[in-house]
Symmetry: C2
Subunit: 145 residues, 2 copies
DNA sequence: GTTGAGAATGATAATGATTATCATTACCAA
DNA sequence: TTGGTAATGATAATCATTATCATTCTCAAC
C-alpha cells in the first residue's frame, strides 16, 4: 500500500512531514525512534520540519494505529511501527539496540498470576535490559567512562 | 533499626525532612509514592518541606539503596522501599492500586529468551496493567466518564 | 488549471516534572 | 556553646511535551 494511501485511510491529508516521518519507519522493522530522533533525522536530510509537527504527527499516527508508543528506561518515549501483534522487548544497555520477542509461556503465566490475585489483565509491558554479546555491539559505554 | 540509624548507615545526617519521608514509607510495604505525593502528604501533616528537598532526598535514598524508583504508565516516577529482592508489579487501571509479585517461571524464561538471542540479562521490568476485580476497588474511572 | 475553505504547519509560549543555584538554616563534633 | 559544613527551601533553569495562533498548504469543486 502506498504511503499516501495509508494516510488517506487514516483520515489524514497527505503532507510532506507526514510522508517523511512514515518513511523513517517505513522499511525497517524493529525501528524505535523518539520525537527528537525523528526531528534530527529530518533536518539532516534537508526536510525543514518543526518539532511541534513531529509530536503532532506521532500522536496522530498512534491514534490512527500506525505507530505504537513505548517507554523504555529514561525520560523520552519512542515509537515503532504497529505490527498488529503484541510483543515485548530486549534493550541492550551498551549499544541501545532493541530486539522484539513474543513468548507464549510468559504471556500465559501472566494471566494466571493476575487471575490468582483477582485481576483481569488489560495490557502489560515487559522490557529486559541486557548486555548484547554480539560482535557488532559498539559497547559505547565503555568508551565514555 | 531506628530510622536515624538507618540514615547514619547510609552516610546521611539525620534531619527532619529525611526522617519524615522515611516515615511515609516506613511501615507499609507495597507503598508506591511519587515526589508530589510525598510533598503533599508532608504539607498536610504540617511538615513544611520544599519540593526540591523531596526530590533530593528521594535521589539520595535511592542511591543509598533504601528506596527503588519505578516507572509505571504516565509521566511521573514512584518510589518504594527496597526490599532487597526483585519483584514485578500489577497495577489496577481503575483504582491505581499496585500489587507486587515474583514468579520463578517468568524469571527463568526471560533468561532463556535473552540467552537464545545473544544477550546477558542485567535487569528487567514487567508491569501488568489490569482491572482489579475486588469489591473495594473504587472504580474511579467509571465515575469520571 | 484556478480557487477557496479548512486543515496542517512551524515559531514560540506554556506546561509539568525534575534538577541546579545559592543564600540561609540546622546538625553535630569538639 | 559554637563553628564548620552539610542540608534546606525559594526560585530559576532545564527537558520533554503540549497549546496557541498567524501563515501556508492540500484538495475538492469549479
Amino acid at each position: 500500500m502506498s504511503q499516501s494511501l495509508q494516510l488517506k485511510n487514516a483520515g489524514l491529508k497527505s503532507t510532506l512531514p507526514r510522508l517523511k516521518i512514515l518513511d523513517l519507519f517505513g522499511s525497517g522493522l524493529e525501528c524505535h525512534l523518539s520525537a527528537d530522533d525523528i526531528y534530527r533525522k529530518l533536518l539532516e536530510s534537508g526536510v525543514d520540519v518543526g518539532i511541534a509537527t513531529v509530536y503532532r504527527v506521532l500522536t496522530q499516527f498512534e491514534q490512527a494505529g500506525l505507530l505504537v508508543k513505548r517507554h523504555f528506561e529514561g525520560d523520552k518515549s519512542v515509537f515503532e511501527l504497529n505490527q498488529g501483534k503484541h510483543h515485548d522487548h530486549i534493550v541492550c544497555l551498551q549499544c541501545g539496540k532493541v530486539e522484539e520477542f513474543y513468548d507464549e509461556i510468559i504471556e500465559t503465566r501472566q494471566k494466571t498470576i493476575a487471575a490468582e490475585r483477582g485481576f483481569s489483565v488489560n495490557d502489560h509491558t515487559l522490557s529486559i535490559y541486557a548486555d548484547c554479546l554480539k560482535a557488532d555491539c559498539p559497547n559505547k559505554r565503555q568508551g565514555i567512562v
